[in-house]
């Protein structure tokens, strides 16, 4: 049987921009998970990547509600604006929210505070425990391959063993649009629907879809101090030290995370378009500008991923 390929006229309304292509691909991935795994969960930090991921997941199932819960791994070092935003989004879209608290682990001694006060590396244990407790078998993360070298080889469906560990040598080849999420009993699969998005794609999509974000992504006045070349915000987490001077600056954040190691950017960009213009010109990657813990070593990210971090 042969199909004759007639030159078809593609109506203008049927053209797909690259954002349409990325959107359709992400939705396909999300629906594959919903169709093949029993108990998915979507990690929702209130950051821009998870906001985009949630938006895509909601669109994937319209007119229905999201058929799985969202989970926040709460370091206890939160920007209040982000928690406020999280709760508003959860209420508005009738989501089921699970929270894993790093603070609980510190309170009962299962985890100890690090000397530098950063709690980003402490998220791994509460995350894995929550996955075990709720028997989640698929965990959506907002990771993008352009973020960091170790992520460039990450699969869209990334297998984790029962200890949450990732083995870069034992990855399944991923062919065409065929995903295989079969995993060992007790293991799970991490799924990254935004794998092929760049930071700029995320912002263009936020602009196009008018996705609300926490206010800290846009320029605002904030009291900050300088540590290791980064502007950090004072807070209960332990900054500033005596020798660090607090001053008022106009800043915005490029990522949201643990207050102790998420740096602010001195910026006047107060709208999405201004942020996009600024990022397009920027010569520093997102991680380089705001994550203190990734600077530790060239392979810091790879080491953390092996241990089960996102």
């Amino acid at each position: 049987m042969a199909f004759t390929q007639t030159a078809s006229e593609t109506a203008p309304s049927l053209r797909m921009s690259y954002l349409d292509v990325l959107e359709a691909e992400a939705v396909h991935i999300i629906r594959e998970v919903a169709g093949t795994l029993e108990r998915p969960v979507l990690l929702f930090s209130g950051g821009k990547d998870s906001a985009v991921m949630l938006h895509l997941a909601r669109k994937a199932f319209l007119p229905g509600l999201l058929p799985f819960p969202v989970m926040h791994v709460d370091t206890g070092h939160n920007f209040p604006e982000v928690i406020e935003y999280r709760d508003k989004v959860v209420a508005e879209h009738q989501l089921t929210l699970r929270v894993a608290h790093v603070q609980d682990y510190i309170d009962d001694g299962r985890l100890t505070e690090r000397p530098d006060g950063s709690r980003n590396p402490l998220q791994t244990v509460p995350l894995l425990d929550a996955i075990g407790q709720h028997r989640f078998d698929a965990v959506f993360g907002g990771g993008r391959r352009d973020e960091e070298k170790a992520r460039a080889k990450e699969r869209v469906f990334s297998l984790r063993d029962e200890f949450g560990q990732w083995d870069p040598r034992q990855q399944r080849p991923e062919l065409w649009n065929l995903y295989n999420g079969r995993h060992d009993p007790g293991g799970h699969v991490r799924v990254f629907p935004l794998s092929n998005w760049t930071e700029l794609d995320v912002w263009h999509y936020i602009a196009r879809e008018e996705i609300p974000l926490p206010a800290i992504y846009f320029a605002h006045q904030r009291r900050v101090f300088l540590r290791n070349g980064m502007w950090l915000a004072p807070g209960e987490w332990g900054g500033p030290r005596r020798d660090e001077q607090v001053q008022e600056r106009t800043v915005r954040y490029r990522t949201v995370g643990d207050m102790s190691c998420t740096g602010a950017l001195v910026s006047e960009a107060a709208t999405i378009d201004e942020v996009i213009a600024e990022i397009s010109l920027s010569r520093i990657t997102e991680r380089g500008s705001s994550r203190a813990d990734d600077k530790l070593s060239d392979t810091a990210m790879e080491d953390r991923k092996r241990e089960g971090y996102f």
Partner: protein
């Protein structure tokens, strides 16, 4: 010089490409150069590469380090897994699958090429078309990558000689022609110096074609998936309205269109289409949609909605070309799961017919168990039918995964129908 431009970013297109080359042809250098010259390398990444280069005792920044991701690879100094890179110019966004070149990594090129519109095959101008080039070109032909570019690298080491380039170009065109690749182009360049990568070379005035990046920006993207018959594999039934949802892998669908629900072949009419919540009259290949049909219930994951006038073949026996991607072997008689789009059925490897030598493109009868990187014709007996198209006609509905039912490992990539033809 090309830079990321935001004005046009919203409407620009997406090109997926895969690169392949033998060890030391300079693939990592080319990709690094592309990222660097298109200003996709940011200050802190460059700084990291510079300090790593210094640590290794190199005088200048080794651009190849930009793309060598994982620690094991850095230690061995070779690329061992497919890595994805992202860059953009004024009118296109690019997703580059960087695939390692060694013989034992054919599966990586198959993986990278499976989603690519364009394959880049590197050769060293001193060596020209070698056995590995033949393999890479055969993989691109097998996977039906619509466009193939031969990057003739290290032209600086052959004095930028036109005759040498013409010789290689000639041999490559004959090879590509014999494999039925529709669109090929050769470009002479020096990845190390940057000649003809982004900017035109001053050393090769005899070459008047596009630079490498210009070619990537201009190559025709219209694969015309829309001219194919409609194929909508059902992924999920939406909560709320019970509409089957999926991504249209080929063709177009319209409200009012006659369709069949496969594999049963039940006829239906499309009564509504939604594109992620928004009603639309008309959808095309690539879109993630949901549809409503005039028949009640009973359409679920694993079914496929197809154009009523041009239908796939519903069958319980499939002849396929397999690319074996697992370390464990696969023998005649083995039980497997066969994943065909969203449908998964049990099956048996009924027979292993032959092996394909990618370098000579010769089939040799051979029923031995498949080893990693083997390419073979096989016959699969399925427990339940699937509705498939030959891979050469519709890539989406002509591709399969073979999975080990014991532990879920991916074993082989399958292309429905004979290789190349």
């Amino acid at each position: 010089m090309t830079t990321l431009s935001l004005d046009t970013a919203r409407d620009s297109e997406l090109l997926r490409l895969a690169t392949a080359g033998s060890v030391d042809d300079g693939k990592s250098t080319l990709v690094g150069r592309l990222l660097y010259d298109s200003k996709s390398v940011l200050a802190d990444q460059l700084e990291a590469v510079e300090s790593a280069s210094r640590a290794r005792g190199y005088g200048q920044a080794d651009l190849a380090l930009l793309t060598d991701g994982l620690r094991a690879e850095r230690e061995q100094g070779i690329t061992i897994d497919v890595a994805y890179r992202y860059f953009a110019t004024g009118n296109r966004r690019f997703i580059l699958a960087d695939t390692p070149g060694h013989v034992q990594y054919t599966r990586n090129m198959v993986t990278g090429a499976s989603t690519a519109h364009l394959a880049v095959i590197l050769v060293d101008a001193r060596h020209g078309v070698v056995t590995q080039t033949r393999r890479h070109t055969a993989v691109a032909a097998l996977l039906r990558t619509p466009h193939v570019v031969l990057a003739v690298n290290k032209m600086d080491l052959v004095d930028f000689a036109e005759e040498r380039f013409a010789e290689i170009d000639d041999e490559f065109r004959r090879l590509a022609g014999s494999l039925g690749i529709p669109d090929v182009r050769s470009i002479p360049l020096s990845a190390l110096r940057g000649d003809n990568v982004v900017d035109a070379s001053t050393e090769m005035p005899w070459y008047t074609g596009p630079t490498f990046l210009q070619h990537l920006e201009r190559v025709d993207l219209d694969e015309d998936l829309t001219a194919l018959p409609a194929r909508l594999p059902v992924q999920y039934v939406l909560p709320g309205n019970g509409a089957p949802a999926g991504q249209l892998v080929a063709g177009q669908l319209r409200v009012g269109q006659q369709v069949l629900v496969m594999p049963t072949g039940r006829p239906a009419v499309v009564t509504a289409i939604h594109r992620l919540g928004t009603p639309t009259e008309h959808a095309r290949a690539g879109m993630s949609i949901s549809v409503q049909l005039d028949v009640e219930g009973d359409v679920g994951r694993g079914d496929m909605i197809v154009a009523a006038d041009r239908i796939p073949t519903t069958t319980r026996q499939v002849s396929a070309t397999l690319c074996h991607v697992a370390e464990r072997r696969l023998a005649e008689g083995a039980r497997v799961l066969v994943q065909h789009q969203t449908r998964v059925v049990g099956g048996t490897v009924a027979s292993i017919v032959d092996r394909l030598d990618l370098a000579t493109v010769e089939h040799t009868p051979n029923s031995d168990p498949l080893a990693v990187n083997d390419i073979a014709s096989v016959v699969l007996d399925l427990d339940e039918p699937i509705a498939a198209d030959p891979y050469r006609l519709i890539r989406g509905t002509g591709s399969l995964l073979l999975i080990d039912p014991r532990d879920g490992a991916t074993l082989s990539a399958g292309l429905v129908g004979p290789a190349f033809r």
